[in-house]
Amino acid sequence: MIVLTPLGKFRFPVHAECINPDVFKEKSVAEIASLSVWEGNRKKKLGDLFKIEEVSDETLGITINGDVSKVRRVGQGMKAGEIVINGNAGMHLGEKMAGGKITVNGNAGGWTGSSMKKGLIEIHGDASDYLASPYRGSTDGMKGGRIVVDGNVGSDSGCYLRGGVIIVRGKAGPFLGFHISKGVIYVEKSAGNRLGASMTGGKIVVSGAIDELMPTFTIAGVKAKVKIDETFKAQGPFYVFLGDLAEKGNGKLFVSKNSNSHLKQYEKFL
């Protein structure tokens, strides 16, 4: 296992897609130290920015101790192995990842798990905006895998989801699940407005309060509990809404009945 410790506080954004178990595999510490990264507009070596040590155990893993919130693209496209970050992580963490596990003991930046295909990301703090969402303009959303956030997530999370599971233990910002077509998003606390806008399929489950429901959703019933994945069922009761009708969508929106008394008016359409 390789342990990376920042040599100082980062002043400029660092692009370090080389911090990836697939890249580190079978490389010596010296070889890892000579991998190139960009710090601002300067090309640097990984060894210029991090203290790099090898810890004896044979696992394919990377541990980063310290605040790397300015270090972007860690674990980008990784296929196997494990990354543990003891501190805050930067943008594009685990972007397009296709396997393995990333754990953040801190907060994560924007576009964490963007367009990911497989694997597991656990964030024990908050995640910023665009969690699991594709880059601006792209429709290439998350296809599979699992993301668990213990804290809150920012706006535009889970956009264009096409598979996989996102679990948020805290609150979610606006535009959660914009344009999703498949997959599941679960939010334990509240979710912001424009929830599920343009969704055409998939499931969004909110156990807390929502600010407003888009007028393009129609009520379909009330359900006692909803299956999130094989291991976990969310306890209701939930209002079930179908939409987004503006997109002729067939997505399902489950919203807690007890936390959303302002949606009671919909019951008369049942």
């Binding site: 594709p134 880059y135 601006r136 303009g137 792209s138 429709t139 290439d140």
Partner: protein, 564 residues
């Protein structure tokens, strides 16, 4: 300026009939000369290398407001292709709609030296020229869209061809343009009313003329003005199954204008106009019919518009066609309908091998290029970025020169497309000589560029040298080696200066912008009536409309004497 002597290369110069002869090329003051002082001249040893004139692209959307809008709506396209600055070159992005500087560098690395921007709304002419100024390494020109321009339509409606010609001459100077571009004639004017035309004899709303009248009228105008290029035509019904019939009708209609056996029109990205079948399910190739006609007639030139399997961006003045694409794909799109003198649309498009339609389109482009026997009649383009980005050209060259390369790609395509494709039955493989025709000589000839596309004495010293030894390398078998060689020129020489060496930029130069200064028999007067119309209908004042001389960084006015 330094003298250069390119020694011992295998020279392919079709316009001068040179087919792989081992000879020297001498350069002085930016021109090809008979000989140079061998003591003083910088010598380039081209022994074992292929020497060709610099590449000429007859149709590539590299500048203008539709290109720029395409850039704006596709951040996800840029993020996957970021180009960093070097000590010499500027930073930028690709992929399908590269920034202006990256466009110049990438063309130059492939040995190209001249490109034609084929679609410019006159209202966006200033913007287009500003972007052209920022494309280094290349000579360029731009074609104003005149096929649905009210003044042209009014003149044609009145039957006043001379008046129309004078107006077109004025428009060329006003927009600093090079040729008459016509897109879906009549269809774009109809699109302003949410309609389209579906044959060359449909009537255009409010003008009581037909696409046939517009095409033939402007082809005649083109002749009256003695323009170096023919009309540059994007056909009606483009991109619609069964449209090869319209294309044939178009070519037949233009026969009436052809009197001296010379080409009177250039149909661009003909792949998109050669669909047979009556819906997307039974789409098949119309290449046989089109190529049969072209093989028997000499009044047309074509370019391929070859599909590259990639995630690209389509952009055309053909607004109704882009609307059709939007209905098919549901992707984000931009449309313009009434402000400019044409319409327009932009939509991302991912051409996939596993799509039966896309794979058939891919096959149609190659079938056309191979079934048309005379390489001087069909040129290699992708209609960048519509069918694929220009820097994928080496792939097309490999498909054209190697049956093995074609079949290797075909084997990965959708089964339905494989079954329908004519490619397995075509054995033709283009030679290096023919390749030089379809990538530079033929294009330069069709464009009427006297100093381009050849290496005769007096030509512009635009030269490309590739690492291909025709004596030892069989490009039909080793197509991957050839593909690599065409993607990265050993040398590109622009106006007598070495700008690329071993596939890397070693010097940046500004290219020239060519435009037509048409001398008409009498001075063209802008009447009060036209000024009044400007005030009433246009979003700019008449005084702000023309592209003034200072807009063009390195202008090259080509004087043409008109017969009106």
């Amino acid at each position: 300026m330094a003298e250069i002597l390119i020694e011992n290369g295998f020279v392919f110069d079709p316009l001068n009939g040179i087919n792989g002869e081992r000879m020297d090329i001498a350069i002085k003051n930016g021109k090809i000369v008979r000989s140079v002082n061998t003591q003083k001249a910088k010598k380039i040893n081209a022994a074992g290398l292929t020497v060709m004139p610099g590449g000429v692209d007859v149709h590539t959307h590299v500048a203008g407001h539709e290109v720029n809008t395409g850039r704006m709506i596709r951040p996800e396209d840029h993020v996957k292709d970021v180009v960093r600055k070097t000590g010499l070159t500027r930073s930028g992005v690709g992929y399908s709609i590269p920034t202006t500087f990256v466009t110049g560098y990438r063309y130059s690395k492939m040995g190209y030296t001249t490109v034609m921007n084929p679609s410019m709304a006159p209202l966006g002419a200033k913007h287009t020229h500003e972007e052209l100024n920022d494309i280094p390494m290349l000579d360029k020109a731009t074609f104003p869209l005149l096929g649905d321009w009210w003044f042209v339509l009014e003149n044609l409606q009145k039957g006043d061809l001379e008046g129309c010609a004078r107006h077109v001459a004025w428009m060329m100077e006003t927009t600093k343009g090079y040729a008459i571009k016509i897109v879906n004639p009549g269809g774009l004017e109809s699109w302003g009313f949410g309609r389209n035309v579906h044959s060359i004899d449909d009537v255009v709303p409010n003008f009581d003329i037909t696409p046939r009248d517009i095409m033939c009228g402007l082809a005649k105008v083109n002749k009256m003005l003695n323009l170096p290029h023919t009309i540059h035509l994007h056909t009606n019904n483009l991109g619609i199954p069964g449209n090869y019939v319209t294309t044939l009708e178009t070519m037949k209609a233009l026969e009436s204008v052809a009197t001296d056996g010379k080409p009177v029109a250039h149909i661009t990205h003909v792949q998109f106009s050669s669909f047979a079948g009556d819906n997307w399910g039974n789409l098949r190739s119309g290449a046989e019919e089109i190529s049969k006609y072209i093989n028997n007639h000499s009044h047309m030139t074509l370019d391929m518009g070859q599909i590259i399997f990639s995630d690209t961006t389509t952009m055309t003045a053909d607004g109704p066609f882009e609307f059709t694409l939007y209905q098919l794909s549901g992707r984000k799109w931009v449309n313009s309908d009434v402000e400019t003198e044409t319409s327009g649309g932009i939509i991302p498009m991912h051409y996939k091998r596993k799509s039966a339609v896309n794979a058939t389109q891919w096959s149609i482009g190659l079938e056309l290029a191979l079934l048309i026997k005379d390489p001087w009649k069909i040129f290699m383009t992708t209609d960048h970025p519509n069918a694929g980005p220009f820097f994928e050209y080496p792939k097309i060259l490999a498909w054209l020169t190697s049956k093995k390369a074609r079949l290797a790609t075909l084997a990965k395509c959708h089964k339905k497309a494989q079954k329908k494709s004519l490619l397995p039955s075509i054995n033709r493989e283009l030679s290096l000589y023919e390749l030089a025709v379809v990538t530079r000589a033929g294009q330069a000839k069709a464009l009427g560029l006297k100093g381009k596309g050849h290496l005769g004495v007096g030509a512009d010293a635009d030269v490309a040298i590739y690492n291909i030894n025709p004596e030892t390398l069989d490009i039909a078998k080793k197509y991957k080696t050839a593909r690599k060689a065409f993607g990265s020129a050993v040398y590109t020489i622009k106006d007598g200066q070495v700008v690329v060496k071993d596939g890397e930029i070693v010097q940046t130069v500004d290219g020239r912008t060519m435009w037509l200064d048409i001398e008409t028999a009498e001075e063209i007067e802008i009447g009060e009536e036209m000024k009044r119309k400007f005030k009433q209908y246009w979003t700019v004042e008449y005084e702000n409309y023309p592209v003034f001389d200072h807009y063009v960084k390195v202008p090259e006015a080509i004087t043409v004497k008109a017969s009106v």
